[in-house]
């Protein structure tokens, strides 16, 4: 009895085995057939459609476009505002880049591209287009594989001098530049063809050293066509607990004026940021610039407080003062600004700024300027995040 059961069991497993093999064989045949059909259909496809082998769509750089337009009301007429000066610093401005007209302005369309060139370099280009000009705002390459973690930048770019010189108008927290920057470098800051080297010190606390050699075309502080401009800066930051950070920096820019006289600008800045939650923070930022331009000492400061209320609203105030001027000029030049910004979505900013400014000279006469500017800034496309 036992034997028969065992035998039948053995036979049945054998049978089952044979059945399994058959089933497997059938599946293999089916798979082979499917593979053949798919190969055939690929051949059909290759016969009927064109090759895509030279398509380079995947290599399109990150492209973005930023639009900035505004409505402005001020107590100075357009004809008078054109070519305003800053007492003791600027005789007449030759170009007003932003919010020039009382009434409506289309300030610019900023077209930016970014991509890796290859394993060794990244390339960035930022073009400013306005109704009557095309301007290369910045265009440079950055190294990626330099020894000792050095980072070299070459091309034309905004200098790393100071706290805010590299930040474009649309990314700044106020519609207008701080007065001291405007007085010493103009609204577009130090922007030159040249070369820069940065090095981050390998410590837990962030310290970055930088040096630049630039063409020195900035006419307000430098501008000698034969001499280069040298800048150097040290920037650092540290955490004070989980939610508080401090940033500091000291800078120097040394060049020659358009009359070939020595000109040096020193800068010091300090920022304290208190994070409240993901969407709310308070930032206090101050910066002092001191200039020795052919033995004429001038200096100025700004200090600003910004409160990010939530992901939609930000309010801020800034105090600007030119604290030192040439002996024959006024030394009570001040500017007050207040701003409210509404951001319904990450890439959309609406901002309203009120400015009271007593530093400006219109047609040889110093007059207080009161201004309201309502501006929108939108970003479309692939625009990288901004640094702190």
């Amino acid at each position: 009895m036992k034997r028969t059961i065992l035998l039948s069991m053995a036979v049945s497993t054998l049978l089952l085995h044979a059945g399994d093999v058959q089933a497997l064989e059938k599946r293999v045949t089916l798979l082979e057939e499917a593979l053949r059909v798919s190969q055939d259909s690929k051949i059909d496809e290759a016969m009927s459609s064109k090759s895509n082998s030279f398509n380079q769509k995947a290599y399109i750089p990150d492209i973005s476009l930023i639009l900035n337009a505004s409505a402005v009301n001020r107590n100075i007429d357009n004809s008078l505002y054109e070519g305003y000066g800053i007492d003791g610093f600027v005789d007449t401005t030759d170009e007003i880049a932003f919010n020039k007209n009382k009434g409506f302005n289309f300030n610019y369309a900023e077209f930016a591209m970014h991509s890796a060139v290859g394993p060794y370099f990244d390339a960035d280009a930022i073009f400013h287009l306005s109704s009557d000009s095309f301007e290369i705002e910045e265009a440079y390459i950055t190294t990626k594989k330099m020894p000792y973690n050095l980072q070299v930048k070459a091309g034309t770019f905004k200098s790393g001098f100071g706290r805010i010189n590299t930040i474009h108008q649309h990314a700044q927290h106020f519609v207008s530049q701080p007065l001291v920057y405007e007085a010493m470098f103009g609204v577009e800051g130090i922007k030159d063809p040249g070369l820069s080297v940065n090095w981050v010190v390998p410590t837990d606390t962030y310290i970055m050293l930088g040096a630049e050699v630039l063409q020195g075309t900035n006419e307000l502080s430098f501008g000698d066509s034969e001499s280069l401009l040298y800048t150097g800066y040290v920037k650092g930051g540290f955490d004070l607990g989980d939610y508080t950070t401090a940033l500091w920096g000291v800078s120097i820019a040394k060049g020659k004026t358009d009359t070939n006289k020595d000109s040096t600008v020193y800068g010091a800045d300090f920022t304290l940021k208190q994070t409240i939650d993901s969407y709310s923070s308070v930032t206090w930022q101050s910066e002092y610039l001191y200039r020795d331009r052919d033995n004429v000492i001038q200096a100025g400061i700004y200090t600003q407080l910004l409160y990010d209320v939530n992901s939609n609203w930000e309010v801020g105030a800034r105090y600007d003062a030119l604290t030192k001027n040439s002996p024959t000029y006024a030394d009570d030049l001040k500017k007050y600004s207040a701003i409210v910004q509404y951001k319904p979505f990450e890439f959309t900013k609406l901002r309203l700024q009120y400015t009271h400014d007593n530093s400006k000279i219109f047609n040889g006469e110093r007059k207080s300027l009161n201004e309201f500017a309502l501006e929108y800034v939108v970003e479309i496309g692939a625009h990288g995040a901004h640094a702190f």
Binding site: N149, D204, D239, D242, K273, N310, F345, A385, A387, F388
Partner: protein, 292 residues
């Protein structure tokens, strides 16, 4: 004397740890579990903050400058805060494409990949939902990837990483079984949430997310949308609102008042809530919060 120098040299080799940074806390926990005493882990993001908008701190640059390995969540979750830090740190090893750059989203099957991408639909993630950390099933493949990477850059301790991985897998397989069993008795089948943050955990447990408090990803709640949601919740008899730790809670409270629903604070990362203080407790807490 010679012996002493040799010993000093040897010990410095022995104690040379692999420097690893992870963007989020849960990844740091996995690295610690696999790497043990042979790795030094720096976690960048504060788990109490929105993972999309981590406030960049200068100290991150100092850290990134020195790391051998950077492990990110990927799926574009870090796109709003990490790239400028990497650029400033200028550390070839951990830049995207470097040998020490690991994107764990590559080993996870991403869900909710949008069929069409436009910012008109809000701040969507074109590669799919990057919040897979909330599903415990993601953690084993992620641990495998991290172990492989550690083995490849620190061959000396390969065996240890392998055995730690084995232990990790055994532990988390048991936890998966435990939580699966626990979730079977869950009476909740439909929820609403603030942002599509918990879809992976919900998906794994057969719970349906019927709506979001934000009208579109990255857009703050509006009264119109909130009223619509209240009506929907009443109609579908939804009694659970899943709330993260970092968004405002006023909207959820308002909806809860009108519908009688309960607000569950669900952690999105290890350390987001007190209860989620370890990786294990993070998953236990998610299971608990989804179902009570």
């Amino acid at each position: 004397m010679k012996k002493l120098i040799l010993m000093a040299l040897f010990s410095s080799v022995v104690f040379a740890k692999v420097n690893v940074a992870t963007t989020y806390q849960y990844l740091g926990e996995v690295v610690k579990a696999i790497g043990g005493e042979y790795v030094k882990v720096d976690v960048l993001a504060n788990p109490k903050l929105d993972p999309h908008f981590i406030v960049p701190k200068p100290s991150y640059i100092g850290k990134l400058r020195r790391e051998d390995l950077l492990i990110i969540n990927g799926g574009q979750l870090e796109i709003g805060w990490l790239p400028p830090l990497l650029k400033s740190a200028n550390n070839e090893k951990v830049n995207a494409g470097g040998d020490g750059f690991v994107d764990v989203s590559r080993v996870v099957h991403m869900i909710d990949k949008p069929k069409s991408v436009s910012r008109a639909y809000g701040d969507i993630h074109p590669d799919g939902n990057p919040h897979f950390a909330t599903d415990i099933h993601s953690i084993i493949p992620i641990a495998k990837l991290i172990a492989r990477k550690l083995e490849s850059i620190d061959t000396e301790h390969k065996a240890i990483y392998k055995s730690n991985l084995k232990k990790f897998i055994t532990k988390y397989k048991a936890l998966i079984n435990l939580l699966n069993k626990q979730m079977k008795s869950c009476k909740i089948h439909k929820v609403v949430q603030y942002h599509e943050l918990f879809n992976y955990a919900l998906h794994a447990n057969g719970i349906k997310s019927v709506g979001n408090l934000e009208p579109l990803p990255g857009i703050s709640p509006s009264s119109k949308h909130t009223l619509m949601l209240i009506n929907l919740m009443k109609k579908e008899n939804i009694k659970t609102i899943l709330q993260d730790v970092y968004h405002e809670k006023k909207t959820a409270k308002f909806i809860a008042d009108k519908t009688g629903a309960k607000i569950s604070i669900v952690p999105h990362d290890v350390g987001a809530t007190c209860e989620a203080n370890t990786l294990e407790n993070f998953y236990k807490s998610i299971a608990k919060q989804l179902c009570h």
